[in-house]
Symmetry: C2
Subunit: 380 residues, 2 copies
Amino acid sequence: MKSSRLRFRLIAEDGSARCAWLETAHGRVQTPAFMPVATIGVVKSVDPAELRSVGAELLLGNAYHLWLRPGPTVVEKAGGLARFTGWNGPMLTDSGGFQVFSLGSLVRVTPEGALFKSHLDGSLRFLSPEDCMTIQRQLGADLVMPLDVCPPADAPEEELRQAVNLSVEWARRSLACPLAEHQHLFAIVQGGVDRDLRVQCAQELMAEDFAGFAVGGLAVGESKEAMYRTVQLMADILPADRPRYLMGVGDPWDLLVCVGLGMDLFDSVLPTRNGRHGTVWTAEGKLNLHGAALAEDYQPLDGTCDCPACTGYTRAYLRHLFRVGDSLGWRLASLHNLRFLFRLLEGARQAIKEGRYDEYVAGWRDVLQQPGGARVPGRG
Amino acid sequence: MKSSRLRFRLIAEDGSARCAWLETAHGRVQTPAFMPVATIGVVKSVDPAELRSVGAELLLGNAYHLWLRPGPTVVEKAGGLARFTGWNGPMLTDSGGFQVFSLGSLVRVTPEGALFKSHLDGSLRFLSPEDCMTIQRQLGADLVMPLDVCPPADAPEEELRQAVNLSVEWARRSLACPLAEHQHLFAIVQGGVDRDLRVQCAQELMAEDFAGFAVGGLAVGESKEAMYRTVQLMADILPADRPRYLMGVGDPWDLLVCVGLGMDLFDSVLPTRNGRHGTVWTAEGKLNLHGAALAEDYQPLDGTCDCPACTGYTRAYLRHLFRVGDSLGWRLASLHNLRFLFRLLEGARQAIKEGRYDEYVAGWRDVLQQPGGARVPGRG
């Protein structure tokens, strides 16, 4: 069943970087956009009003996790994932292909689907691309991903090739599955950092009518050079009139680089996971909230930030929360890191609109780039 | 050093129940009031704005815990506990006598103070009543409690008697310790459920100029009958023109009973601890959020409640949060239980003002009273 065309309206370009409006039935989203990860229907420790207050417009859920708990029927009867979680806004569900291959204990992949053991209770589970679409139809997110085969980063070429072939076949079969009128199916390009496989995969998928294209299989251990090179290749090939989604990337410098290469959507557990572990990004670099150095530091985390953590509390108090292990600390640090990324992208969008994106990125280089970081392809 | 008199203005009475305004330098509080417990400077998982939004006016911190972490100097340099925690409102600090005797491994009590091992690292610590006042002066809460000796509920009479004598001596010595101008020292009446010891302890303390009187050593395992009887005895003796604080009581029915007996202030970890463990109070009784029965229950926790959990989420979603162990569940359930108590007390204050408190309590009996619950002394 064909759903109506996803509206994706470019409003500014600067080099390969671009700004657009992505319009869903649950609201519109400015791109480049970062999606906080609500794997199992909650951005850990954070509530929807708080997410909105720091600038979130689009959330990501995970079909694999939600299939296991609470089950798609529970979510469907609640009126879909956006209503079930209280977010009531635009959402994307990842298929969970990555989770099947990383979390579960994989038993066998056949053209029919994947047989694996649940990471929760070890029970044997079978997931086909068609099952995955049924689950995501029930979850009801606006943007939907097909089940894909995700080999490890160091897989031999033959395994990568088979993964590409099966992922393409599964994506085609997913396209034939019914979705609700408001839902739109993306394709996921695989192929590791192999140039030929990436090109082949992208071209085969582009022959079909997908609403957008995701770049999967990156940020899984390859070098930054290889990742940036692959992103650039993808951005050069994938159609300009549809959203390009770089999966699993949330490092602030990587975001800036990949926006510069033409990517529109991003997701990662990095801001929230780092936050829960007491590491926050600031305008002056990373800060470790476990450090005794902060015991009597009564400054905000980041004097330039307007998030709840920075406007309401001192470093000393946040350090205390981490020391006593209170989840308010996890929440505040998660919100701060999310706000950091949203502000970074707000600045990026503004810079793109004003034709000074290179300059904007250069201004962040000293703070964000890892020592010995990779050269940005196509950039100075 | 004498601080200025604490303002406590009675505005309504109904039988022994009363409503008053308690005025502190950080704001005023309507009594009867319940204090959420921020033992170590945070009401677990909840933030100050949320506490205020559900009706909190007065928070409790614990001198013993805050002495160990983060240390009173850290709090003092932050401008006091109210500022350090971001609460910026009225606070009371308990001395931690109860914690020294229950959490720590007590080594020796002498007239000088208590020698014990820290519950955190086993280090040997000594705390005198004077130390405890110094710590609380640094913490800067509006209301301050003296160090007291807290024997177990089943202690023999001689041990109870010694505890009373030492607690009275320590309270007198505490009165001689300097506090900041805005701080007010309460006394704590001990004596278990022994009528004579309670009367003796109260009379000796009432001979001194304390800002208010707390009833300690209850809700520690004695029968409800014995607890209510002791509370009634205390309410009959303690001066009517000062606040009466019943320590450690937070069961909703106990609150109603003890407000009826003339108590003004209460604290307990019950609403937040129960909430974190997935038990919530509702207008129809207790609800267990771990129950599979709620899996597809799309009602709010309590249809009569206006808290964030009830206005934003379904039972099914909250059950899901507890199933996956997310701290958002702990927070929402804590806020709901706090809101339940605050609404219960809002109703109580209104009923007292309108001279229908007995009727109000009777209306809650079927929902709140435990099966086989104790008869309310002095009530029908």
